[in-house]
């Protein structure tokens, strides 16, 4: 009982090692991992990573998958999954490209593309809530369904719209401020907005509780189905936005557009540290996760890693990043490290 004062929680908080307090801030641990990775590449590939160009390249290309990963973070926090986003990306890209090409629409084309995303996302939500099919299967099916639909509608066409670079909408969404690609600012904007929604808005709170335990969410008065519908619709909207950004950057639509993002985006969310079990998630982590995923391969190539080794090393970097991320936040959450620590104490 003499120890009482030293056990005051705030005092205990102060006594935590400074490293632990730094890494308790959302995303700090994964940021450290990212910095480490960049640091390594600066040493192994100085020509590339000490210049600014590579970073501008990333900033031009990362926004679409990053925005997708941000949307998927919401879905995962709600304990759901969405695998259909590549097809939504393709669909909205197509709508934007064809409307621009055939009717020279810009903002209207943008609006139409977003609307398509909203509708397709909404349909996902309706299937999940009304037919009760788990979202993983639903969206696996709609990945095929929407993907098939857009190839049928487009006849498998590739649509090039090089003249879009002269439009205001291009400057607004995918232009350059100096060397800085504008779409990077949009990605940051989306991230900030979603951070506030997840952590400070009632919608985000509902999402957290639904993912934590849907039964509890129901019992405390959350309209679970309605919120789920919103989540999938939001994901559709963000997929469409990502699709338009992508089309503006590459000035082309082709029918497999977006498919390459499937694994990348899923990996970004989980490397960022969002729990696969729902109920918690980190927006900052996803942002960094998307950057890490984007940088690994380019970094390895620039470091002179040859062909076959890249794939292997990507796997290794994934594992190391995730472990490091967890260990920096709390070494005891890595069972192996905990066991070692306990052994050493004896």
């Amino acid at each position: 009982m003499a120890m009482q004062t030293t056990n005051d929680p705030s005092a205990a908080g102060l006594r935590l090692p400074i490293s632990r307090r730094i890494f308790a801030v959302e995303g700090m641990a994964i940021l450290a991992v990212f910095a480490l990775l960049i640091g390594i590449f600066m040493i192994t590939a100085p020509q590339t990573f000490l210049g600014y160009r590579i970073y501008m390249t990333f900033l031009a290309n990362v926004p679409p998958p990053m925005i997708l990963a941000l949307g998927l973070t919401f879905v995962v926090v709600a304990g759901e999954m969405d695998l259909s986003f590549p097809s939504i990306v393709a669909f909205s890209s197509y709508v934007f490209a064809i409307l621009f090409k055939n009717y020279e629409l810009t903002w209207l084309a943008f609006g139409a593309a977003l609307l398509v995303g909203v509708i397709l996302g909404f349909i996902n939500g309706v299937i999940v809530t009304q037919l009760g099919i788990p979202s993983m299967i639903t969206t696996l099916a709609t990945l095929f369904l929407y993907g098939g639909l857009v190839t049928i509608v487009s006849g498998g066409l590739t649509i090039a719209i090089p003249s879009v670079t002269d439009t205001g909408i291009h400057a607004f969404f995918a232009g350059r401020i100096g060397v800085l690609p504008v779409q990077a600012l949009w990605a940051v904007g989306v991230a900030v907005l979603l951070w506030f929604i997840l952590n400070r808005h009632r919608f985000g709170e509902n999402v957290l509780f639904i993912g934590d335990n849907a039964r509890v969410a129901h019992v405390v008065g959350i309209r679970v189905d309605r919120e789920k519908l919103k989540i999938f619709t939001l994901m559709g909207l963000l997929s469409a936005f990502a699709g338009v950004l992508l089309t503006l950057e590459t000035t082309t639509y082709f029918s497999s557009q977006g498919m390459g993002y499937l694994l990348i985006v899923v990996a970004s969310v989980f490397i960022g540290g969002t729990s696969i079990f729902g109920g918690s998630g980190t927006i900052v982590g996803t942002v960094i996760g998307a950057l890490i995923v984007a940088i690994i391969e380019a970094g390895l190539v620039a470091s002179g890693v040859q062909g076959f080794w890249t794939r292997l090393l990507i796997g290794v970097v994934f594992l190391v990043s995730v472990t490091l991320n967890t260990a920096l936040e709390d070494p005891d959450r890595v069972p192996l490290f905990k066991r070692i620590r306990l052994r050493m104490k004896r």
């Binding site: 509780f209 509890v216 019992v219 008065g221 109920g279």
Partner: protein
């Protein structure tokens, strides 16, 4: 407490021939029941008698298989009733099953479903934490070291969790407060607090349905006693008509008659 206008019949809840099947299990059978204003109703019955099911139907967690449900004199459509609607009709419930988000902090669990927000729906985190802190300290009085409103609920002890659930019910000022085995897992002093709280409900002119297996507690605070047996109402009487001993005897007799 605000009085409701108009057609208010003095009844808060009325159930007519309510039935609830889970697959082939019949949890409630022809339940007719009404809860009046400013009354404390003790709901008793064996394990599996259907008490919790009755509550869930009343608060919109489950839809009844058949029958009519009236709240404050208005019929609520089966299937159309929801927890949210019940909350809007000022019914507050502490469920027996876990009803806390285990990965969420204490303060969020306190306000979830009805957060303090600005017009855009953004949550006033500071205000929520302050109020949660106040209630946890004053009403439930946790004594553990290291527990704060930021603690994740999953890390609390059994009794502490129950405390959070009850604190929530105490905070939102309602016309009808339903407590499904609220004293479970609580230490002696906290049990006393819950009983005091129920008495304060009465004093405030509000109503309460109180489910509990410890007959002495129920008998102490209830105005009216309802006993469920295998999904049917076996007894509905004013407490004054029955002593604690008679009540105990009645409940035990149910086993003898029908088993």
């Amino acid at each position: 407490m605000t009085m409701q206008a108009g057609e208010d019949s003095g009844e808060l809840v009325r159930m007519e021939n309510i039935q609830k099947h889970y697959g082939k299990v019949e949890s409630l059978r022809n339940v007719n029941l009404s809860i009046g204003r400013n009354e404390i109703v003790g709901l008793l019955g064996d394990n599996g008698a259907g008490k919790s099911t009755l509550i869930k139907v009343m608060t919109g967690v489950e839809a009844p298989t058949a029958g009519k449900l009236f709240i404050k004199g208005k019929e609520v459509e089966a299937g159309g009733h929801s927890v949210r609607q019940a909350q809007e009709l000022r019914i507050e419930t502490v469920y027996q099953d876990k009803s806390l988000g285990e990965k969420q902090p204490l303060w969020r669990n306190f306000f979830v479903g009805r957060p303090i927000t600005n017009r855009l729906g953004f949550i006033d985190v500071k205000a929520e934490k302050r109020i949660a802190e106040q209630i946890m300290k004053s009403t439930i009085g946790f004594r553990s070291r290291g527990i704060s409103v930021d603690s994740t609920v999953g890390k609390l002890s059994g009794g502490e969790r129950q405390g959070v659930a009850i604190g929530r019910a105490m905070h939102f000022d309602s016309d009808l407060i339903i407590l499904d085995e609220p004293t479970v897992a609580l230490a002696i002093k906290e049990v006393r607090r819950v009983l005091d709280f129920i008495q304060s409900i009465k004093a405030g002119g509000r109503s309460c349905i109180y489910i509990e297996h410890t007959l002495a507690n129920v008998h102490e605070v209830a105005d009216r006693l309802i006993v469920l047996d295998r999904g049917e109402i076996a007894l509905d009487t004013q407490k004054s008509a029955m002593s604690l001993n008679e009540l105990t005897e009645f409940l035990l007799s149910l086993h003898r008659v029908r088993h």
